[in-house]
């Protein structure tokens, strides 16, 4: 079970983890804890799966890479087969089934725009289903994170 300190850690560290020699020691002051305690808590929450990541979140597009959200209308009877075909591409980072006529939504991530175009074409070719390419045109500021 999470206690107040766990919640505090999650809420604080979703926003920022300091870049300095002893970051947990610095955080211990604001979180009214100790360096050792915070390290132990973060490790425990990573082990239990309450946290899925600890570290820098890179922005693929600003790293010079390409990223896009893609959608397909997959016939129900072919859904599992097409899932396997799409997931086989290493460039597919996430893939979700959604309850809509556009029922397959996946994120393509590549190091170059050209690789992205090639992968899009290959997915459409392998599956025989058109792929709607919906890269972000603009990202709006999102102020809040998950409140634990």
């Amino acid at each position: 079970m999470m206690d107040a300190l766990d919640r505090n850690i999650i809420n604080t560290l979703q926003h920022d983890f300091p870049v300095c020699d002893r970051p947990f020691a610095v955080l211990a002051e604001t979180l009214h804890s100790t360096e050792d305690e915070l390290i132990a808590r973060v490790q425990t929450m990573l082990d239990s799966g309450l946290l899925t990541r600890f570290g820098p979140m890179y922005n693929a597009v600003n790293m010079g890479g390409a990223l896009s959200l893609c959608a397909m209308k997959v016939p129900e009877e072919r859904f599992d087969e097409v899932t396997a075909q799409v997931n086989a591409f290493a460039e597919v980072a996430h893939n979700y089934q959604r309850d809509h006529e556009m029922n397959m939504w996946f994120v393509l991530a590549t190091e170059t725009q050209q690789e992205l175009e090639n992968t899009l074409a290959a997915v459409a070719d392998h599956t025989g289903i058109p792929v709607y390419n919906m890269p972000k045109q603009k990202e709006f500021f999102v102020g809040l994170h998950f409140k634990a």
Partner: protein, 189 residues
């Protein structure tokens, strides 16, 4: 122990002074290569220890200050969104998520996007291309809740907020995660 409050600009200046004798292009190439190695070393996470940056710097054979300078630089130019934790939102009780999609007049897209971004439980908000007639939605907002009802309620609040700026909207609930590996840079060796 260096203070966390030291300004990254100062350190960047210091660093560029140490490399100023080399031709600029070579410097840029070296920095790009160093940054790439830093991404590879940290993209799966930082070690959970008292001095995480020192551990990574040792792995890379560079000094800790240089690593911290590069991380601050990548934060400043938004190659790094942030450094921190990502909670598993399912385990926090946010088990329902719906991708809300909106057909907003292009004239109002910025206003609408900024309004949505400020709402609780909207975690991503993007403008994306339309594909008329099959797909006329141009604004996407991921809405999270403790259950579907909460997500639906939130979406109806958004509809009220946008009023006539949104001609049409829909909500796509995820029914299955088919793959989730995250973004990974390939190690070209």
């Amino acid at each position: 122990m260096s203070a966390c409050t030291s300004k990254p600009e100062d350190r960047v200046t210091e660093m560029s002074q140490t490399v100023k004798h080399n031709p600029l292009k070579k410097d840029e190439r070296q920095l790009a290569e160093l940054d790439r190695r830093i991404v590879l070393a940290t993209q799966s996470g930082l070690p959970v220890v008292a001095e995480p940056y020192r551990i990574i710097a040792e792995q890379l054979g560079i000094n800790t200050q240089l690593l911290m300078d590069r991380l601050e630089t990548m934060k400043a130019d938004h190659r790094i969104r942030r450094i921190g934790v990502v909670p598993n939102h399912y385990k926090l009780g946010y088990t329902a998520n719906g991708m809300s999609v909106w057909d907003v007049d292009d004239t109002f897209i910025d206003e609408a996007g900024e309004q949505l971004g400020q709402l609780d439980m909207v975690t991503h908000c993007y403008q994306r291309p339309r594909f008329p007639p099959e797909w006329t939605y141009n604004l996407f907002a991921m809405v999270h809740g403790h259950d579907r009802d909460e997500v639906l309620q939130k979406v109806s609040q958004i509809a009220d907020l946008l009023g006539s700026k949104a001609r049409k909207h829909d909500i796509l609930f995820s029914t299955r995660i088919l793959k989730k590996t995250g973004l990974r840079l390939k190690d070209k060796g």
